[in-house]
Symmetry: C2
Subunit: 221 residues, 2 copies
DNA sequence: AAGAATCTCGCATGAACATGCGGTGGCAGG
DNA sequence: CCTGCCACCGCATGTTCATGCGAGATTCTT
């Protein structure tokens, strides 16, 4: 574990917490401060308080609750990341089903933990985040993978298309005309037309845009 | 931890291993069998050997090496999943940089671990996988998130398009002609033309197919 | 009340496309 | 050897599209 690269050095790993629940907040602070190599100096009850409270001395890692009064954590992560580009933000949530998972990730969160994560694993996750990793509770990771899979669904299935036809389709999707494609591939425009015909038959479409749409949605491109 | 839901019950968690390196293979078997609640009865040195060797009694979890002689693990995972739909496949790899990560995931792997993962964490991951989680080494998770972010980049940003224009674009991507869209929306074809013009300007494209392509890639549709 | 944005509609012209028909040659498998 | 699949080439017809120029209506902001 690359954990040792940080923990155990002269400087302790600095963690801040944003959570509207006082018990959780202080509990985390206690856990962190009672572990050698970790330090928690700042806790806040909202994103708004956090962005001003951190000042010019940001921590290494921020534990950020998802559900907060005022600005949501899933939105807030963007604020923090804009102000402190090196800050690693770990989201905390009670429910793996929460759809804000994806929003948070797109906004720059580097990890996502369930609040029921035991202290030892939580601290593990903190140091892994500090090292550039992306610790996630397995339930949450499962949801991410699910979406990930859907985004690249086919990948070689239903693929009657020949490699040539795929390449052609790719060029068309970039907005090239038949003539441009023909020139690019050093063939005649008539050849292009022929291939397009085959593509249309195989994809059961009748226009360039429909072909492109189908190809993209089915992961052919 | 939902681990307790499986481990500790009457039936031990059954694990199989596919790895071409004998030391790794037997090492894993030893680790697993020397831990209460886990059982490893089958180890194989290739995907091919695994798919026939498992027979009609598949394990709960399969640890599958990525790099293998013959069929790659990243491809093999599909085979295993087709034959045993309930089987959870955890990929093992030496390098987090490996691009087969994504291929494996799309092919049905439920998790991805670095081989240097310590035994305790590995067994943890196994039981988490068995419970439907998706354990991933943080370095690998970081790569997944990176790709994930890129795949949903805009989603509400750069969205100059008006709702009408978006709807129009959607219809066009389905292969409808201007006239059909016009009829569908009860407007003239000239109106459609005008909107298309605006869309082209905003997306900086010059053809239907390019517009559809850009819209799909940027998550506008 | 002025201005911006959006939606509506019109016309004209050249370019691009969809689809019909035809043909040659190569290479794999039955 | 023949049949199918693929890549290549040609032509002709009618349809659709891209883009130039206009204009009037609504709604929301300033």
């Amino acid at each position: 574990m690359s954990k040792d690269q940080i923990v155990g050095k002269d400087r302790p790993l600095c963690v801040a917490v944003v959570d509207d629940d006082r018990v959780t907040r202080e509990g985390l602070r206690l856990i962190i401060n009672s572990t050698p190599g970790y330090r928690c100096e700042h806790v806040f009850d909202s994103v708004e308080a956090g962005v001003v409270g951190l000042g010019s001395d940001p921590p290494d890692v921020l534990l950020l609750d998802v559900r907060l009064p005022g600005m949501d954590g899933s939105q807030g992560v963007r604020l923090f990341r804009e102000r402190y580009p090196d800050l690693k933000v770990l989201m905390l949530t009670n429910y793996a089903e929460d759809d804000t998972v994806f929003e948070s990730i797109c906004n720059g969160a580097c990890g996502y933990l369930l609040k029921k994560t035991p202290p030892a694993k939580l601290l593990d996750a903190v140091s892994e985040a500090a090292c550039g990793g992306a610790p996630m509770s397995p339930q949450i990771a499962a949801r991410v993978l699910e979406v990930f899979r859907k985004s690249k669904p086919a990948s070689k299935v239903g693929h009657n298309l020949t490699p040539h036809e795929v390449r052609l389709l790719g060029l068309l999707s970039e907005g090239h005309s038949y003539q441009r494609v023909a020139d690019g591939l050093s063939v005649t425009i008539n050849t292009i037309r022929h291939h397009i015909r085959s593509i249309y038959e195989k994809l059961h479409v009748h226009s360039k845009s429909e072909a492109v749409s189908k190809a993209l949605k089915h992961g052919i491109l």
